[in-house]
Homo-oligomer: 360 residues x 2
Amino acid sequence: MIKTDHGSVQTPNFMSVGTVGSVKGVETRELKELGAEITLANAYHLYLRPGIDVLEKMGGLHRFMAWDRPVLVDSGGFQVFSLSDFRKVREEGVTFRSHIDGSKHLFTPEKVIEIQRSIGADFVMPLDHLVGWPAKEKEADDAAQRTWRWLERGIKAFEESQPKYGHEQVLLPIVQGSFYELLRRREAERFAALDAAAYAIGGLTVGEDSTQTREAVDIVTSCLPDDRFRYSMGVGRPEDLLDQVGRGIDLFDCVVPTRNGRNGTLFTMNGRLNMRNARWANDDRPVEEGCPCPACTQYSRGYIRHLYVSQELLALKLGSVHNLSFFYRLMAAMREHIDAGDYDAWASAKAEEITPLREN
Amino acid sequence: MIKTDHGSVQTPNFMSVGTVGSVKGVETRELKELGAEITLANAYHLYLRPGIDVLEKMGGLHRFMAWDRPVLVDSGGFQVFSLSDFRKVREEGVTFRSHIDGSKHLFTPEKVIEIQRSIGADFVMPLDHLVGWPAKEKEADDAAQRTWRWLERGIKAFEESQPKYGHEQVLLPIVQGSFYELLRRREAERFAALDAAAYAIGGLTVGEDSTQTREAVDIVTSCLPDDRFRYSMGVGRPEDLLDQVGRGIDLFDCVVPTRNGRNGTLFTMNGRLNMRNARWANDDRPVEEGCPCPACTQYSRGYIRHLYVSQELLALKLGSVHNLSFFYRLMAAMREHIDAGDYDAWASAKAEEITPLREN
């Protein structure tokens, strides 16, 4: 259980991605009805648009996006590295150009804390230096060392500043270390010694294979204190969540449910459906029997297929809300099986069931 | 009041446009919550996609789109003339190529009735021959004469066929006649003599000026029996609805609320808002005070502006539901003022209030 001034979050849990303060196509009231207990936004995007002055004038992100549950805000380090045409990393921070208008900006560890104070995130992320995979050991080491030095500056800036909207904010250090075992372990150990309230694991699913992801997660979770929640950034597919919860991860975020929802790949407890497939044209069953989402309670597979094939706006929304419902139901099932004590056996069977493409 | 086996429709009323069986971006349950009593779909589009065989297997359009209120289905005459690259009008019917895949099809007056029997429309429209404006008198006359002959064939096909899903279907003749006074009157008079259950006025807003539209409406409404409802096809802007209700029109359909909603032009009882305007960036008021739609009850102008500027999917939906709510509230206000006996004075004042772009 994660406690915040905006209410509690059961663990393990999943955060929908509301990059600019909106989970694509879904109203905040709908997000709550689907079972969302926490959502994620992105400091890089919010800083560029609508801008920090607007967020401050509007009373912070919660009020702006009409969401009264917890928000975790990513620092934007990942976006600086993935979206910007131009970036230059110095010890001071990272200079980049906006992907929107090409304007030049500098993110320092201190600036990123200041931005997230203005956003009003319940969980604040420090600026980190991400490397992709493959990466040379020297490069991975340098980035991890810089992430640590930036964290120290971030912690100082965080301790010297105050929340702006009357609710508590918590800083989540991000453990980097790429896929070099000793490097990952060294980082995890010194992060563990920080005695932070919670931790994020960064630098996953950047090009490595799934064995490497698993090894990195195992190293980090074996080092971190048991009683602090662990957030695995940007993970992932349903089978990844089932696996990583078994390895001690408590919190995830990923665009998988919404992006797949928009593309027409819908998840069910018995496998995935490609909704554009002609096999569903006359099928009057819901996408998933018993699913409480607005797609399944109102519409047939045949109708939803028609919406995708006709490129109707409503398809994007229905696919997104169904997949979000699936993710929240999957996390709820994980919590039940953890309580029941049969998680590992259940999770490996479940991963087999949900992964294949359905033919009926 | 319009009565159907799917319930009653208060008049005057407005039909949202659900071309392929979906009002763009809006769930059917949301459409009901907004106050929709009837919606419109299009036989040309539904015939091409999902196809009549699918609609029959799925139990007709109401069941397919999960909508238990009345549906009026346009014959697709307009789409054949506006969307198809290729079309050839013969006495038999109109040959056209699909705008989707270029395949060749023939719509005859009989075929269009058969299609709408399979769709299960509460209100069925015959195939008509539309002309744009300007049009030569000979061309307009030929099209009106053909519309009449096609109507006679359509009525015969309608009388010789049966509803497929157990609910009554009603055929609505479409009065054409372009903007030649004598021609319009001749058509209106012979249509009136048909003693149909209701009538549609076609061929409006095809390039003529607003004086011509008004004169054509006046000619037709003065000829048609008072106790049958009159549907003005494809009309229109809020000020057009206010005007035409005063001229005796009972029912409208138009893409104006949803298309403007997607583009960011939102209607209110005090004028229109261009939601992309920077003036709304820090505005924490709703788009329209007192509006019961999901946009106004949850979100500020500042947030909704941010969604449009950031090209977020949710903007398209919020703009559409707000504008639909506005249209339904406007129609409800018209009904109240008709009952109160002060319609004309109220409507001209209201048209002045709702038209200007708002600056605050």
